[in-house]
Symmetry: C2
Subunit: 725 residues, 2 copies
Amino acid sequence: MAQPSSVAVADTLPAETRTALQRLFDPRSIAIVGASTSPTKRGFQAVRALQQAGYAHPVYPVNPKATEILGLEVVPSIDGLPYGVDVALIALPGAAVPDALRHCAAVGIAGAVVLANGFKETGDSGAELDAALARAIAETGIRVIGPNTSGMLNVSTGANLVGLQDVPTGPISVVTQSGNMLLSLVNDNRALKGPGFHAYIGLGNQADVRYDECVAELARDTRTGAVAIHSEGFADGRAFLVAAASAVQDKPVVMLRGGRSDVGRRTALSHTGSIAGSDAVATAVLRQAGVELVDRSDELAVVAGAMATTAPIASGRKVAILSDGGGHATLAADALTARGIELAQISERTQQVLRDLLGGPASVVNPVDVAGATDADPTVFADAVDALMSDPAVGLVLIVGLYGGYHLRFDASLTAAEDATADRLLELTTAHRVPLLVQSCYAGDIVSNHDRLRAGGVPVINSIDHAVRVVAALDRRGRRLATASQRSSLTLPAPAPRAAAGTGILDEPTARALVEDAGVDIGGWTFARTVDEVVTAVTGYGRPCALKIVSPQVIHKSDVGGVKLNVVGAGAAENAQAIIDAVTENVRGAVIDGIVVTPMADHGVELLVGATHDPIFGPVVAFGSGGVMVEALEDVTFRAAPFTEIEAHEMIDETIASRMLDGYRHLSVIDRTALARFLVRVGDIVAAHPEISELDLNPVIASKTGIVPVDVRIVLSDTHSGAHA
Amino acid sequence: MAQPSSVAVADTLPAETRTALQRLFDPRSIAIVGASTSPTKRGFQAVRALQQAGYAHPVYPVNPKATEILGLEVVPSIDGLPYGVDVALIALPGAAVPDALRHCAAVGIAGAVVLANGFKETGDSGAELDAALARAIAETGIRVIGPNTSGMLNVSTGANLVGLQDVPTGPISVVTQSGNMLLSLVNDNRALKGPGFHAYIGLGNQADVRYDECVAELARDTRTGAVAIHSEGFADGRAFLVAAASAVQDKPVVMLRGGRSDVGRRTALSHTGSIAGSDAVATAVLRQAGVELVDRSDELAVVAGAMATTAPIASGRKVAILSDGGGHATLAADALTARGIELAQISERTQQVLRDLLGGPASVVNPVDVAGATDADPTVFADAVDALMSDPAVGLVLIVGLYGGYHLRFDASLTAAEDATADRLLELTTAHRVPLLVQSCYAGDIVSNHDRLRAGGVPVINSIDHAVRVVAALDRRGRRLATASQRSSLTLPAPAPRAAAGTGILDEPTARALVEDAGVDIGGWTFARTVDEVVTAVTGYGRPCALKIVSPQVIHKSDVGGVKLNVVGAGAAENAQAIIDAVTENVRGAVIDGIVVTPMADHGVELLVGATHDPIFGPVVAFGSGGVMVEALEDVTFRAAPFTEIEAHEMIDETIASRMLDGYRHLSVIDRTALARFLVRVGDIVAAHPEISELDLNPVIASKTGIVPVDVRIVLSDTHSGAHA
């Protein structure tokens, strides 16, 4: 006998003040469009999944033929739904989707989850359907998750539109394009005994709802402790950067990227229709936005789970290792060092406390090794942690080794002592406000004291490498939160009026003037229109100069004799004339506008500085080593523009080039602040001028006299309206 | 009532033909010296552990006071033991150990496991005891494992001298200095459902038995499938290299190194008294010896377990990925690419077979994604694997995604089909002789088809990253086995007679002559003893030359005006005289032997080539990028000398410098074979001349005209008798 659903009693749901996206992610009523009476059909399983998950709000199966599904009264058509249902799960074939969405919008449905595939991920064959879908979304304003998605899941409320059962409730929220990745995460979380999940959004093709909106919405959600993202590419990378940079102020955002290699990218394109750009650019700018990128798929669950429950390391404080095995202590110290994480220098006083506590064989410098002092009485661990957390140098205590397994290794009678120690550790981490992390080779066993720690928000992890990876994330987050006010929001300024008409390559004087007008000191230069002006300029500089032809017909200046280097006053006239003659002879019909005169750069560090308009992330600045090894080294990193001075310093620090700035060999010390400001201004230029598709200052010579670009080259484009515009 | 042990019936055990080490590692009789009646004492637990492990051979508790322990008759003293017991476990305080060893040796005991600590790992305080131990070993010849060890374990026979229970029997043999590492490995193996263990040797302080002997012995042992090593340093690194290079012909050797960072090294020294040298040298030469080095502690169990049961990838063949989820396929392809492992280019024919099998939505290029084609019938997986293994390009099939979990994800009725598929996969991997590896996010669940695969030697792994790490190891092993005959045994030749008397820096002509005599072409050079001879030499070369002073009093030649570059015939006399005058003026009492004249090197790639006598590994050659960025780049790798041409090619390929050899920018193409041979000969020199502590050819200019060292500098030392000598 069908239970009367609310259809029978009201044709409008209560008035709703939430946004469409809030209603979509946390629905208080759900329609299953394409509900089925056949247990093998998704339209049946969807209804069953909601019931099994204990979803407490109205569910409306929609089917023109059936009358009852799993005890629920069936609505014959979308039009028959009460007005204002929050979400429709569309379990219809692709071709029927656009029309269904229009009907959903007409009855006030906020959002739809579209399961069907056969859209853009199939290439040309799905293009027409994809266009129809896009039109339906644009014309109705309904918010759509999918198509080609595994669904959506709100574990906390039981709004299970995925069908996966027994997902534990907890603070991790997941956004991905791949349903299997959710499955992996759930299994990884189980193996890790991690803290469980709040929301899952399977974005599929991202026809409407995209990563940026999800991350923004989930960061605002109090039940989310951390957002875990798996992505194979962004429809709008800049929007994601802006959303992430804001979201990470509230919640950690952890991301695993697929399609980073060429072969992986090809695979990703074939199954999600994603746009995947340069891995190096994406890695750099996502880090800039504060996203915690994991390189390994087995790190996503553990890092997101730990970050969801564990406080970051306070900026300026360092890590203390407490070990009950020298082998583990050494491996943990190695792994931390490999990630550039420093161990805390613990005070003499703390060392004395530990020495009194642990006795002779123990090592009381960090890493602290109890060396058997806890074998008979594991409660000593808590005393040692207390001592370490009392030390102001210590920002996190990492316990490694056999911790919590003494009752298995030595004697079952130690169980109570280990349980009590766990309780005390939770008190200590709260009282000292110093986070605690436990690595134990018994983490995979059923150990009650570990479970107590986990329930209290202290991760207990089996792998030293995973534990250290979590430490790195907590360390980075602490530093980021401390410097939040000094960072870019990554929003782009309103486009400035065009500096120059047309497209193509600007002539060098125009390019130099544009860069200089933006406040970048590029050193002395003169645009000489005659041979006499060249002579005057060279003589004026009083040192060897470079002469370069300016002609709209000449692009590769050196190839046609258009460049002379190390020209001194006495040879200026002769060299200028030689350039003019050579270009006239080599380039038929060349119009010669003049010659750019610049003093030769001092001996210094050759740097690569440039900017491009990245198709995914918008304007980005590149920085790295210049000079002869530039292609062999590939020492280059990126920042999305506009960016700030602290971000420029971090950019510099990432490169091998940075090792040559502080008085390397016979080179002078370079003013890092001046270099950082130079990069910031280059970023400001490309951020303010969306028409600039390329700005090339390569090479830039940094010396004690300044930061001087040898060349300034700007390419304009009319097609600058990238996804971010 | 005490059971009569064989003490009662014989005072000599049967005659033994095995070596002392074989008897030690696989004892057929064991004495527990320091056996105890107190259950909390190790001397009691040791007896109990042997009984619990089902050790079937005689056990002799030794204790002057007790008469019976756990039903065994107690022998009052070591002297009372029957002659020829294989192994004594010495559970006595450190001070009593040397004397006990002498008594053991007197009654024909082959080896002892010494648990006590307080030896060299405690620094000065243990030095005296350490010396006494060394004397007892040297004078008696008894083989000793330890001291400061957790013990030794032969799982196959139940010779459990560690006390750890429930270690599963299998093919992994473990050598480590840290007992806790064994615990970690056992727990990791359980979590991985790995293949289990054969032998464990806890080396402790390595007072006698060392890593090299263990690896050699275990590689010969038919019950060992792979040797897993955790090490914090070698007492004799060269001996280990030689043993490993030989052992890897038979068995994979997988190693995790602790103490790689400075802080980790400090920790290691404090608890095992190890010598830990340069991480970069150790990494390079251990790889050269064929050791599979893992960088993460969570990789040791999984890589050793998989290598113990899985065949390597045949050289020249590549990897095929078979996935049932695009997300996993992409991540696996990314991870393989990041490790430099190529995907197989599968043939048109194979693609057609797969297309027929999997239908439209599937991707039939590698990575192959079944895209739902197996959901209803997982046996299709076996057909797809059959197709892939039939393709001659394919050397390994890696299945990734949900494999084996369909009966959990979709319908329990699929269990039988999945079990049958597992059986068929085992048949296929045997029939095609192509190894199979499975990654599944259900690997941590209880899944019968996975257990069947594991029992058949196919690893089923949860982490994509771990699975790919295993692929890398199997790929490397396949290539190594195919090139085994072209590799160095790493044994050092008998020392050659000294080329020059004394110690210190050789003068440049002598150094050049030594290098040239060894068959290294270092380009033209002349030792001119007069200004006239300089003029003749420069004129003879007919191109600009470098002039360098030769004087025993001058070390830093440039600093005292002892070098002139780009000298042509016309300026030769003047420049030579200028050098002589400058040195005479700047270095009081300088004896001027003459001037070395060399033609200036052509424009080319600047390379770093040098050799040193490493304190751990003996003679090693360094190669990398030279030039201005050398310290910033740290682009340098190493090989233990003597090495072969293929090893030199691999050495070159590891460096960034190698990217500049094939016509980089305006540079000419460098003859890689000539460069490889150059490096081999440099290696031969330092291998044959143990008195050379340093050989520096830096920089070497490689150009189309040859491989020319700009300088040749040799430092001799009397203290060359390193551990390997």
